[in-house]
Amino acid sequence: MSAATITYREAIRLGLREALARDERVVLMGEDVGRGGGAFMVTEGLLDEFGEQRVRDTPISEAAFTGVAVGLALDGWRPVVEYQFADFLTSGMTQIVNVAAPMHFRARTPVPLVIRAPAGGGFSGGPFHSQSPEAWFLRVPGLKVACPATTEDAGLLLAASLADPNPVLFLEQKNLYTRVKGTFAYDPDAPLAGAAVRRPGRDLTVVSYGAALHPCLAAAEAVAREGIDVEVVDLRVLCPLDWETVAASVSRTSRCLIAHEDHAEYGVAAELAARVAGELFGELDAPVRRVGAAFHPIPFSPPLEQATLPSAGGIAAAIRELAAF
């Protein structure tokens, strides 16, 4: 297998395979993950290799199978639950938010649970197959949230999520499953933390993560031709947040744009904007700006969806505006 031909989806599959092979406590559960290979074929072949005991198809009962996974995690297993779409996390929300997340705080009992959920739009999935749910969960103490944007991070953050003793929401970007290619990495000792500077630059910092990282990088290349040198920071893990990397970058560039596919309002961009304004006010040469999906449900029709989600063009326009401030 040539390393450079690995897709994001294959990287997650290889990561799950590593996890199953290395640790017999790992079990996969979810709708169609076994015989069917999952709605996005991420778990294809894993049933044949590891058997029904460890790769289990479930009824359409998110609350029940998430609850079972919490129980398994409490008793020392390493369950990995797949939600077919991140939109369906609402069906298991009580288990995630009120059972798993506060368990360690309440009872000092770790819940090493990984919840995988494909998030984001871009392919006419409509209001119930396109959402970016991270902001719903980031306000929940006790829950970690990872959002890989590259094949390398798909493997590394999956390994880190499985090694973490806390419940982790692993938000796969369905728009990247086949569109992003790269190498595979898997290291259980890698931390579930830390942002990465994906493109160094002097004039302006763009903070992003997940699928939106790619239009941010494209926008940075576009404005580079106009003489604007943009630094792009990939958060990689949304909780815990690597504030130091963001702060160091913004302190260098003195301008900050936060761009993600989730709605700009009330989410990661709002949190970062508040922290940049609150802690780096003296460093700033321009106001903090946010780019995200328009604040309405993600529509089905292609031109309506395109008008809703952030694009490289829209991000470039925001960069130009900030650079000229």
Binding site: G67, V68, L74, F105
Partner: protein, 333 residues
Amino acid sequence: MSTVDRVGRDEDATVDERAELLRRAGYWLHLMRAIEEAGRRLYLQGRLAGSFYDGRGQEATAVGAGLALRSRDVACPLIRDLAVHLIRGITPEQAFRHYLGRAGGPMEGRDGNVHLGSLALGTIPMVSHLPEMIPVGMGVALGRAWRGERVAALAFCGDGAANGGVWHEALNLAGAWRAPLVVLVERNGWQYMTRSDACLAVERVVDRAPGYGAAGFSVDGNDVLAVHEVVAAALEHARSGRGPAIVEAHTYRMHGHGSHDDQRYVPQAELAAWAERDPLVLWERRARAEAGWTDEEQRQLVEAVEREVGEALERALAAPYPSPDDLAASVFA
């Protein structure tokens, strides 16, 4: 699988075993009652933060079921089931420290009421979202069954919680996977202020059992030996790999939902009628008839429990509050 009605006759037990079980049950019944009476007094005196939740009238269900558990079984007790925690190792002093939000309680003041539990003791810390603990307990038992252990999960819920979505999801999943799960429905008549009858589409919750491939059992929830026998049978059914079981224990919630609830919506005659069937009264009658229980033994039991509970409460009241210093540090493992 058909619904089975059982009444309280430990047919397999010898007379001596039943007498011994009755004597043990008597201690736990009186201990739960005494702790909860003391807790309720603290609340009414304004000495207990939050509200207080007790299981008066339902002690036989908690005790009978708690004594039917084996050490590696896992239980998900709710707010009427203090005795399950006591039987599994929570001391009266720990219970009071917990109620009072003091250091040294099982949740170190992070949670209160009857929200406690520890997998080390075979219980899952309950959440208020009912009946969300059912699949969690099932997960623990299922994982142990995968490792070859012969265990079951015993998840408690009220007749109100039996109408929550996850109740149905969990039982269906247990039926589909033949998971070792027993759901014990305490048919106590009320979902907070509303009669549970008005909220059920079936006359008896256990009538739903065939829909989940579950065995169904009904029992007099105020008769501790009957509960013990039926729950033991249901747990054995689940442990044997034949799938889940539902036990419907007919009982009555003698107090309000919590001590803040004055039960103004409950007819006095109904309370009076159920008071005649108080689980401690029924127990004493059976203990005298079947275990040779004497007046002197009864006096000694009540005295011993009162002393134990009084001393535990005194120590708990003297205990310090937990420090807030490590609150943020305990969010993540």
